[in-house]
Subunit: 309 residues, 2 copies
């Protein structure tokens, strides 16, 4: 059963990891958001690709969800001595990834090829695909001005009020090679519990992706909103600031045109009728992935639900 | 008294540091070999500039002479996980230097400007100049083929037999801005105890440098050969393989056309008459710089000798 997962950062990476531990590597493709990518001291950083890659390789820092376990920050400290900005916390092991990716990109490799090379070297069997090889840049229009996503997210700890989201480059970007074919061949597409605006949103906006999802046999999503809050990051705060009700069903609504089933947490079971009203099959379970066992359990339920559709 | 020091790696950096602790910052210019520069995973590395810079900033690893004290090698380890070559030992703090230098160079800054920026940030008052802003590359022609200097020096631990040295790019390279004016304004030029072939040699071969030294008021050199051996690195082995007698006076001979005085170690005092025969004034002292005090002591003797000329 060919499965495609669409993932952003930490939450998406966890479910993708659960799926990777259940499925034969050849059956799993993970399409990852790259609209958070940015340039840092001349290096190309792909935060979501890194989070997914480190998580699947068993290298992710379990305390933060991002970065490499046991990493240190000597290079960052040295950049600080040189008077450089250090608000983006790149660890020393992590820095190696950025140096190598940037080097391979400058040599003319596509982000798709670089991602495959890095993932293979770290022993990842599943296929990891960037959403696009073209640069798409999330711009967060806030009450304090336009911010790049990492400025908004890391530097200002998502405190500015979001007025609008914009994606520079999205008008000319295409899905990376392999993305649409994977979606078209998929028996199941899983929308991971990632931020629907800044992680899943840019992927859906790429030409052909939404149409492929509408045509797909089974599309399931796991709610990133639990009890009116995001487990991690600004999804709930953004939702409120963009004038939407902060709820799981709000997420389902945004996906309703292609969604077959929606997995929401027990604490949100009151929203089941609203999900049903969207024509989407609801499934209630514990969605919080505390540990590796939790990831596998949720992935099992996703796959079981998919088979029942 | 304006002093210009020509320096390569560890030995040169030590004497330059001694001079920096004695002279007002505005009076000291250190011109550094860049023919060892190379590209490593897409980053521009200037090993001699780094060694001089770290040494003057008090950051050098006292055990190796190169690299940053207390550095770790997590990024290098990670590059190894990615299947990359790791024979060149870049520490994590050191990596920050290469990332930043490469970034600034790609933004269009010259190596001269980058060097000034980095040195200033590390609190170095003396003027640090790369020998050239054009790329000059030492190629070591050996019994096992042509090697880049770092391959020869680090990867193969200078074990291959040297047949000839070659400098790619030297035919079109010019001295960096500031180098010739500094030499022309200098009351004293000090040739540091650096490898005469691969550290000092490329500088002397740049157009105008040798002529400026011939015209200079006082040029002193400190022998990098002590008791028929190099304190560090392949100078003595190269000398033998290139068919020269392995001795301090061999070094003086190579500089004889511009040298006024030559400082050699007590163990080589038997060579004094040979130095005199070159028309160069010999000065015998302890040249081995074991510690900071040793650097200052030798620098004091260099300056005292210069005043006596």
């Amino acid at each position: 059963m060919k499965v495609v997962a669409l993932a952003g950062g930490v939450g998406g990476a966890k479910l993708a990891d659960g799926l990777a531990r259940l499925l034969p590597p050849a059956d799993l493709t993970i399409v990852v958001n790259t609209a958070d990518d940015f340039t840092w001291h001349g290096l190309h950083i792909s935060p979501d690709l890194d989070t997914v890659m480190y998580t699947l390789a068993g290298l992710a820092n379990p305390e933060t969800g991002w970065g490499v376990v046991g990493d240190a920050f000597l290079a960052l400290d040295m950049l600080g001595r040189y008077g450089q900005e250090t608000w983006f916390h790149v660890g020393d092991r992590d820095l190696a990834t950025h140096v190598l990716r940037s080097h391979l990109l400058r040599q003319g490799m596509t982000l798709t090829a670089v991602t495959a090379t890095l993932a293979r070297a770290l022993g990842i069997g599943a296929t990891l695909l960037p959403m696009s090889n073209e640069r798409v840049e999330t711009v967060v229009e806030t009450d304090t001005g336009d911010l790049s996503f990492q400025e908004y997210f890391v530097r200002y700890a998502w405190q500015p009020v979001v007025r609008r989201l914009r994606w520079d480059g999205l008008d000319v970007a295409r899905p990376a090679p392999g993305v649409l074919p994977a979606l078209q061949a998929a028996a199941v597409v899983v929308i991971c519990p990632s931020n629907p605006f800044v992680s899943i949103g840019p992927m859906l906006a790429l030409p052909g992706v939404r149409a492929s999802l509408r045509a797909a046999r089974r599309v399931l999503a796991v709610s990133p909103i639990v009890g009116g809050r995001a487990l991690k990051g600004p999804a709930a705060k953004m939702m409120a600031e963009l004038g939407q009700p902060v709820s799981a069903v709000s997420v389902a609504q945004g996906y309703a045109d292609f969604l077959n089933a929606f997995i929401l947490d027990r604490v949100d079971s009151a929203e089941v009728p609203q999900v049903e009203a969207l024509g989407v099959r609801p499934f209630v379970t514990d969605t919080i992935m505390q540990d590796q066992a939790g990831r596998i359990r949720l992935a099992q339920q996703v796959l079981k639900l998919a088979e029942s559709l």
